[in-house]
């Protein structure tokens, strides 16, 4: 609206500039240029020297726990930034609001920190970011808005319950089978000491004890082989054809995560197999049998991003060549239902020397899954508060 007037002022100033000896006209015209240039270079300098980074301790969050995310805005310019508005985007499943607004004023060559909490409310993979910056100079002449790539994927792990009565009475030795062949000695399980004899391995010498008694002593280990466990999860949609499908899909994943965690606590080797959808692609997840914290986290991460599948029936997963199990591996099959084809496949595994435990769940106990007579263990997983009770079917 005022552009016309400003143009008119410019025009009359120009007349003053050209037609009369009027120092102020020259100075004011120069001032106008200085104003324009200062506003331009100030905005440009801020734009160029501004940076935003995101800092997070971890990108993996347990459900129900909060995690801080910090945004650090760095002003590398030699002039202060009077006001800047920062918008950070976060998924509603991990944050109380979709947009987080921060208003900042930063000194020259300084940084400003803003943080907010992420709160894992639903299992899955979500992302925070990007961060947008809005800036208008101190005169309202120039402005810019920038987007910084501060996107980070946040994995929310599924809920984990305590399992009250883990099925120990099975035929399998819960991961370790005693073996008399020395070759399978487990160096983590020391059963005693004996005096060193010629031919014993030097690496078995217990140096502390030897130093104490001034004689060489060697450790003796419990001979063992590691059998490991595989948790097989059925996420085939048709097997979940009851009312609250999504709710029970979540249950299945939570039960699986709880089993993984329980076996991790027992320091057992564990693997995961599931028919599922990840990133909208039907896939079979088959992990290697391994143990340790890193492996545990890896399995939980996989469980976090799984969705049910529409095109991959459970029997397709139960392929012995694909699963490639060592003899004696215990299989925990977590499924709401079991069709005939899957049952036959599991019987094949049983015949190959694997121990099968069926863990049923859902709105009601499926009595057909009572398969103790064929050598399976069958349980119904009942979730109560923070616990999973395994009820024998």
């Amino acid at each position: 609206m005022k552009t016309g007037k400003l143009v008119l002022i410019g025009f009359i100033l120009l007349l003053n500039f050209i037609l009369v000896d009027f120092p102020a006209a020259k100075i004011i015209i120069a001032m106008a240029f200085v104003i324009g240039l200062f506003a331009y270079f100030y905005t440009r300098g801020v734009k160029k020297e501004l940076s935003v980074k995101r800092y997070m301790d971890t990108e993996k969050v347990f459900m129900g726990l909060s995690e801080d995310t910090a945004l650090v805005l760095n002003n590398g310019f030699f002039l202060p930034i009077h006001a800047i508005i920062m918008h950070d985007t976060a998924d509603l499943n991990i944050s109380v609001q979709q947009m987080h607004y921060f208003f900042m004023s930063v000194d020259p060559l300084e940084t400003s920190l803003s943080n907010y909490q992420l709160y894992g409310r639903k299992r899955g993979k979500y992302h925070v970011g990007p961060t947008r910056i809005k800036f208008t100079d101190f005169m309202g002449i120039n402005s810019f808005s920038l987007e910084y790539d501060t996107v980070k994927d946040i994995i929310v792990f599924p809920n984990i319950y305590l399992i009250t009565n883990m099925p120990f009475k099975s035929l399998q030795p819960y991961g370790s089978i005693r073996n008399n062949l020395r070759i399978f000695e487990d160096p983590t399980l020391i059963i005693g000491l004996k005096e060193y004899q010629y031919g014993d391995e030097i690496k078995k010498i217990n140096w502390k004890v030897s130093a104490k008694y001034d004689k060489f002593y060697i450790n003796t280990y419990q001979p063992a082989i590691s059998a490991g466990s595989m948790i097989v999860l059925n996420l085939y949609d048709d097997d979940y054809s009851f009312r609250s499908r999504e709710y029970y899909t979540e249950h299945a994943i939570e039960i699986t995560a709880s089993f993984v965690r329980q076996l991790f606590i027992y320091r057992q080797e564990v693997a995961l197999a599931a028919n599922c959808t990840i990133d909208r692609e039907d896939t079979k997840v088959i992990s290697e049998i391994n143990k340790g914290e890193a492996h545990f986290t890896r399995l939980l991460t996989q469980l976090s991003v799984m969705e049910s599948t529409k095109n991959m029936p459970f029997q397709n997963l139960l392929d012995p060549s694909a699963l490639n199990l060592k003899w004696g591996t215990c299989m925990y099959v977590i499924t709401p239902r079991l069709n005939e084809a899957s049952l036959y496949k599991l019987l094949e595994f049983r015949r190959s020397g694997h121990n099968i435990t069926i863990v049923n769940f859902g709105p009601e106990i499926v009595k057909d899954l009572s398969l103790w007579n064929v050598g399976f263990q069958s349980f119904f997983a009942e979730i109560e508060g923070n616990l999973i009770n395994l009820l024998r079917i």
């Binding site: 007037k5 400003l6 003053n16 050209i18 120092p23 009077h82």
Partner: protein, 525 residues
């Protein structure tokens, strides 16, 4: 938090008021008293009075009335003291001797002028400052924000600075024009005018900066941002960084020269503006006993730029201002020509894409039309009032323009809470609906028949299906329509403009397509 800003503002307000009043006074001296330097000391009075007023006015513990009264009293004491001091110390030739009444009249008139300019400029600052200061007294921040929203609901203009910019620009235009003519006539006044105009420019810029700062903070508060308290500290530091090059660079580059010397123009202006003394407050010195002439008057009032051998017959009355009137007439004439062109283009390019220059011309047309409408309304009002007084007809206030089409009325009737709406908002909704109905008329005729039970979005979705390539435009139209109709706030000008443009574009697009289809030769196969 705002102490620093207030201090900066005070200084610039002082610059602005003093320089504006001084320029007006100085131009008055030149044009009406035909004197250039004799009353220059009065400028000192104006500067000091403005300073006193700026100082007293912002003392929070005293009332504004008392501050004005104190400033006035102090200023009058000063002007009398100055008069006697000047009489005592300076030779009488350097100024006109004013008698005591003359001093009182000059002093109080100038103080009134200072006060007028001061209050006019300060009104925006006071309004913004009061609202910002209120935050400290309200403990509940949510209450404060809802209060702000309430105050500014439907009237964004209250916190815009356009009025201040307009006033500063208008005064600037006036001063520059006065300067141009004065300097052509009396080039020796260039230093006084230069200093005054530079201070005026500084004052205007400084006040704008502080007002913009306050306005922005208020805007952010209304939007719900947590504005840090030290924001003004950094902001003011940028002002310092800004003013250093603003002062140094323009003064460092050459400025004391004339680009083109147009002697004929100068002498023409001198001839045209050699007005006679209209008002003479001075107590004239006694006539010379030798030849009976007023020597002081001859010395002081001699024409300065014109060749002394040539006697210029001074113009009288309105003739002295003719060149000014010519220039003003020229500007108004040019404006009207632009407006007429804008009006023609507005009609011919109604549904076509317009370039920014065409938009500029159309805006001129709208402005002139608004002014003409305003004048006509006033005339009609006076006419009706006159007829009513004579008893010829009954006075009826004109009813606001209502929506004529039933579709428009239906769309407006969907609106429940019209009683709580300010009239400005209602008018805006009606304007938007009118445009929307125009679009519906076209789509109804050429694309999809409109049924009365369709909602705006429902119908537009159907339109979208028939012209999917314009989905974005239609979505924008519906979005702005919904925002206008269902919200209590006024739309931004830009949004309104975008809406009009989008509707015009879509109508043009649909009609063009229809025409092209009509013109296509029939398929013989």
């Amino acid at each position: 938090m705002r102490k620093g800003s207030t201090a900066i503002y005070k200084v610039f307000l002082w610059f602005f008021t003093a320089s504006a009043v001084c320029t007006l006074y100085y131009s008055f001296c030149i044009y009406l008293l035909d004197i250039t330097f004799q009353y220059l000391w009065v400028i000192g009075y104006i500067v000091i009075s403005s300073l006193i007023l700026s100082f007293f006015y912002f003392i929070p513990k005293i009332s504004k009335a008392f501050a004005i009264l104190s400033s006035f009293t102090l200023s009058m004491i000063l002007i009398y003291a100055a008069k006697f001091a000047l009489l005592f110390f300076l030779p009488p030739k350097t100024f006109y001797n004013l008698d005591d009444i003359g001093v009182a009249v000059t002093g109080s008139t100038l103080f009134l002028l200072i006060l007028g300019v001061f209050v006019m400029v300060n009104s925006k600052f006071t309004a913004l400052d009061d609202i910002l200061a209120m935050e400290d007294s309200i403990t509940d921040k949510e209450k404060y924000i809802s209060y702000l929203k309430e105050v500014f609901a439907g009237n964004r203009k209250h916190r815009e600075l356009e009025r201040y910019i307009g006033m500063a620009a208008n005064l600037g235009i006036l001063f520059l024009m006065l300067t141009l003519f004065t300097l052509m006539r009396s080039p020796e006044t260039k230093w006084v005018y230069s200093i005054l105009l530079l201070f005026y420019t500084f004052g205007s810029i400084g006040i704008y900066l502080v007002l913009y700062q306050m306005k922005s903070i208020l805007d952010w508060k209304i939007l719900g941002y947590e504005v840090p308290k030290d924001i003004t500290k950094r902001w003011n530091r940028i002002f310092v960084w800004f003013f250093i090059p603003l002062i140094v660079i323009p003064l460092a580059i050459p400025w004391n020269y004339q680009v083109v010397e147009l002697k004929f123009l100068n002498s023409f202006i001198a001839e045209q503006t050699s007005g006679i003394k209209k008002i003479d407050f001075s107590v004239k010195p006694p006539l010379s006993p030798v030849n009976g002439t007023n020597t002081a008057a001859v010395e002081t009032n001699a024409p300065l730029t014109v060749d002394e051998s040539k006697t210029v017959e001074p113009k009288k009355g309105i003739e002295a201002f003719l060149p000014l009137l010519y220039v003003l007439g020229g500007i108004v004439g040019l404006y009207l020509v632009l407006a007429v062109i804008g009006g023609i283009l507005g009609v011919t390019m109604r549904y076509k894409k317009r370039s920014p220059f065409v938009e500029f011309l159309i805006r001129r047309y709208k402005r002139v039309r608004a002014i003409v409408d305003g004048i006509l309304n006033v005339l009609v009002f006076i006419g009706k009032l006159f007829l009513t007084l004579l008893g010829v007809s009954k006075f009826k206030s004109s009813a606001p323009k209502e929506l004529s089409s039933p579709v428009a009325r239906q769309l407006f009737a969907l609106f429940d809470s019209d009683k709580e709406m300010p009239d400005e908002k209602k008018e805006e909704i009606k304007t938007i609906i009118r445009e929307f109905v125009k679009l519906i008329d076209i789509t109804n005729r050429f694309l999809i028949p409109y049924r009365f039970y369709y909602g705006p979005f429902e119908y537009m979705e159907k339109v979208m299906n028939s012209i999917p390539e314009e989905t974005e435009v239609i979505e924008r139209i519906v979005e702005i329509f919904n925002e206008s109709r269902y919200s209590l706030h006024l739309l931004e000008e830009l949004k309104k403009e975008n809406f009009m443009k989008a509707v015009a574009y879509l109508i043009g697009r649909i009609t063009d397509t229809h025409r092209a289809e009509k013109d296509r030769p029939a398929d013989n196969t």
